[in-house]
């Protein structure tokens, strides 16, 4: 099996603080991977390195074996990486359909077709002509997801997709992610353990900028070190 | 192919434009009605107001005087004053307005050479007679304009010898950075060299410069016998102030082609201004019966609001208006060409500034020139040079031979 995305000794330093410290991991085709860890573990920084928003201070990132460390976010997106940020990032002035239509494609008609399909797939086809700025929080999350999946990317990276969701919404989101995983490889950056429990296959645990452990969900949740990390105890 | 398309475009544009031609002519015919319109364009505000306000006062006074004497050709004179606020673009706007909307018989105005060169082509184009009443760098050769102020062959030619005789051969020039300063500094250079001296350096300053500290240090380093200034406008007054503050007045004297043209001598304290020497074709202080009579009438009319007239700019505006009025009287018409021809017939009049004669070939004037020294907010006349012809312009310009010329000649001096 070829790795879709790999990092090698990725490091991100802000002045004296090392937020990400030598992280190496590999995401395979079709995989559903969760990156977890308490606040400040370096997950979000790692996410921003993957998406090109930060340029890592050391280490490299590969996409299907090709070095993409220096690429800008738009270039990474063009490779077939769909990215959803933590705070919904949307075009508030446009309608849902207009926004999703902006995904890159071969022709105008194709864009529209894909956009409609993406909206329907996420169950918000009815909102197509509503202005995004006027939608409820949960609906906005879904519109953003529609934008991410519309170009049919090979890999989707989600940063805390359940932030601000009710329990019911969270459950639905878990179903949705599992469903999306049928077609796309997915990386979810999350700190909500319940949610991870609901979807996870392989889990990578971050702590103080490093990978603490990487294993199946069941093993990880059983590990005392993970519990200590979440409860704030120092790791020996 | 391209030609036919071009023609089509041309036709379209002409159609759009020509629809206007007919009404324009009809409007022209409506001019016969009463008052004669005279437009004045002088800066009543902005950095040049130090010159503009006395000029406006004198033009007002001249028009009032003429109206009191029964107007011109039996018609009253209506004076329209525009204030371009020391902004060149407003000059062009007001000149266009004077020519196309007011249909002025004559436009008096423009202070800086920059403003003159901005409105001269407009008034040429719309065939409106133009009087420029300021001392300037010379060389304008254009049948539509009359320049009644003095030029370098008249003033610089007297100032530089005075400097070299009393202070020394070598000078340092500081000048305003536009055509007046650029060309005038060439004339100064020419006369300094002819007098056997050297110009150590020429520094130009944009009109908004107020900090002359570095320049003053440079001048000291060059050790000239004198500084000759062609600085212009309110901001540049700082130069004289900073010069005095640096304690240099006693070591290096200043002469100027512009100082006194406005109210510089009034603005500066005697400690700062006294001793600066200038040359102009008029100073309020000249001691002649005509001048005394004029000032009496002027002050009687304006009361305590009468401005200090300083050097020639305001007086030349008064004279310029009267020269034009004389031309109208002789032509018995306000028609532009008729008035120009009458003015070219050799008009000479006695004025508060002495006898002034219009030179038909150059449209410039022969005037008396005075060298004076700033003393206690006014001027003390030191030397008088009667009846100086505008030799500089005359050497290059002959409108009798080339009536269609409309350009400004520049002196050719290598700096």
């Amino acid at each position: 099996m070829t790795a879709l995305l790999t990092t090698e000794g990725l490091q991100m330093r802000f002045g004296g603080v090392v937020a990400v410290d030598g992280v190496s991991l590999a995401i395979n085709e079709g995989e559903l991977r969760c990156l977890i860890g308490p606040n400040g573990a370096g997950k979000s920084t790692f996410f921003k390195c993957l998406t090109g928003q930060y340029k890592p201070t050391a280490g490299r990132i590969f996409w299907r074996g090709k070095d993409i460390t220096a690429l800008d976010p738009f270039a990474i997106a063009r490779l077939g990486v769909g990215i959803k940020t933590q705070v919904p990032s949307l075009f508030d002035g446009l309608t849902a359909l207009e926004g999703v239509c902006l995904c890159r494609h071969s022709s105008e008609a194709e864009a529209k077709r894909r956009a409609m399909r993406a909206l329907e797939r996420l169950g918000i086809g009815a909102l197509a002509n509503r202005r995004v700025g006027l939608l409820a929080h949960g609906q906005r999350q879904l519109v953003e997801l529609a934008m991410v999946v519309a170009p049919e990317p090979d890999l989707i990276i989600l940063d805390e997709p359940t932030a601000g969701m009710s329990t019911e919404e969270t459950n639905r989101a878990a179903d949705l992610i599992r469903e999306l995983n049928q077609q796309h490889a997915i990386v979810v950056v999350e700190h909500d353990m319940q949610f991870i429990r609901a979807i996870a296959r392989t889990v990578t645990v971050f702590h103080q900028g490093r990978v603490l452990m990487e294993d199946s969900a069941a093993t990880v949740f059983a590990d005392p070190r993970v519990r200590d990390v979440y409860l704030g105890k120092a790791v020996a | 192919m391209t030609i036919s398309r071009r023609d089509a475009l041309k036709t379209a544009l002409l159609a759009a434009g020509s629809t206007l031609a007919a009404p324009a002519i009809m409007r022209q015919a409506a001019l016969g009605a009463d008052p004669i319109k005279v437009v004045g364009i002088h800066d009543a505000s902005g950095g040049l107001d130090i010159y503009g306000q006395p000029m406006i006062a004198c033009l007002d006074f001249a028009v009032d005087e003429a109206n009191a004497a029964g107007g011109l050709l039996g018609r009253p004179i209506e004076l329209i004053n525009y204030d371009p606020q020391s902004n060149i673009q407003l000059y062009t706007q007001f000149a266009t307005q004077a020519a196309t909307k007011d249909k002025a018989a004559v436009v008096h105005g423009g202070i800086t050479s920059a403003s003159r060169e901005a409105i001269r082509p407009i008034l040429d184009r719309f065939k409106t007679l133009y009087f420029y009443n300021t001392q300037y760098e010379g060389g304008v050769c254009d049948r539509n304009i009359f320049c009644t102020g003095s030029t370098p062959a008249q003033n610089v030619n007297k100032l530089v010898p005075y400097v070299q005789k009393h202070w020394g051969k070598n000078v340092y020039i500081v000048a305003a950075d536009y055509n007046y300063g650029q060309i005038t500094s060439k004339w100064i250079t020419k006369y300094v060299r002819e007098g056997g001296g050297q110009v150590l350096s020429v520094d130009f300053f944009p009109l908004d410069v107020t900090n002359f500290g570095p320049a003053i240090s440079k001048i000291q380093a060059a050790k000239p016998d004198a500084v000759i200034s062609a600085l212009v406008g309110g901001a540049h007054i700082s130069f004289y102030r900073q010069w005095a503050a640096a304690g240099l007045k006693k070591t290096i004297p200043i002469a100027s082609t512009t100082f006194g043209g406005g109210n510089e001598s009034v603005l500066l304290t005697p400690e700062e201004g006294d001793g600066i020497v200038s040359a102009f074709s008029y100073f309020q202080e000249i001691d002649t019966p005509e001048n005394k009579a004029f000032l009496e009438k002027f002050h009687a009319k304006m009361g305590p609001k009468a401005p200090y007239l300083g050097a020639e700019l305001a007086m030349r505006t008064y004279i310029g208006f009267n020269l034009w009025a004389e031309g109208v009287k002789r032509a018995k018409s306000i028609d532009r060409m008729a008035v120009i021809k009458a003015l070219e017939s050799g008009i000479s009049m006695d004025t508060p500034a002495g006898k002034t004669t219009l030179d038909p070939k150059t449209h410039h004037t022969t005037v008396d020139v005075f060298v004076a020294e700033c003393a206690n907010h006014g001027f003390k006349v030191l030397e008088t040079f009667p009846q100086q012809p505008p030799l500089d312009t005359a050497s290059v310009c002959d409108l009798a031979a080339h009536p269609n010329e409309a350009k400004q000649y520049e002196v050719d001096v290598k700096i």
Partner: protein, 332 residues
Amino acid sequence: MTVNVRTALQIVAALIVAGLAAWLLPQYLELFTLINATVFVSMGLLALSLGLIWGFGGILCFGQTAFFGIGGYTYAVAAINFGDTTWAVPLALLVPTAVAAALGYLMFFGRISDVYMGVITLTTTLILFKFANSTAGDQWTIGTAPLGGFNGIPGTPPLNFPLDPSNQLAPEQVFVVAVLALGICYAVAKLILRTRFGRVAVAIKENELRAELLGYDVRLHKLGLFAIGGFMAGLAGILFANCVFVSPTMFSLSYAGQVIIWVLVGGIGTLVGPVIGCMLIQALTTYAGTLSAIDPNLLLGVLFMLAVVVVPKGLLPTATTILLRLMRRGEP
């Protein structure tokens, strides 16, 4: 679909208004008013250029006058040297566009933030202003055209018919050209905004990060829009050179400020708004200039503050909102 129809209608309406103005006004207006109107129209085009890049690209350029002035100067210098304006015009469009592209490259590819972008554009204009002001000496002559420093180039040749330098346009014809240019630029701007490029540019203004994450090169789009703005401002400069003349004032701080006021008053995020705002304020300041009781700067300044504090969205959008609300209230 309806959006496309609306755009088409707006374009047609604008072209009809421009056509009517070009046809009718020269017949009824006095020459002087017409020349002034030409100045207004050229300024309107300048306002349109800023309205486009600020309102639809989110690029707050404090120095849009830089391209305006460069267009004017290039036109004047080229026209004097060539003795024919046929090729001076394309050159005077190319140069400001290229300068805008170069400046845009520096700013957008350097990922400079909003405020600093304002500083850099303003500074660029100031540099040009200072520079143009200091070119009075003989050494500042390009070919046969002296730059003239503070004086500017008073003898800027008026436009002539293509390839026919002896046949110069009369002021009335310059007016016609100016009005048509404004109408066409408006239409072009509208069309650009309907293209994919335009929609992405608007999306970038809405949310730069999202547009980037969708795979769009934000910098390139901003650069493109900025260059188009430079092109239009350059065209405005050519027209201005034809009805006034070229001088350093074109770069001045007060012009740079006025353009922003026009757009702000007219409404950010519309294209007609800035043009209307420009005409209104120009008319108002011209009128105020004839009053001696009140200083035009005072009037302008107070308007500016009111625009920011009271109607931050601009006159046109605010008026539309109020109208809509009134109409709705009228309904039962």
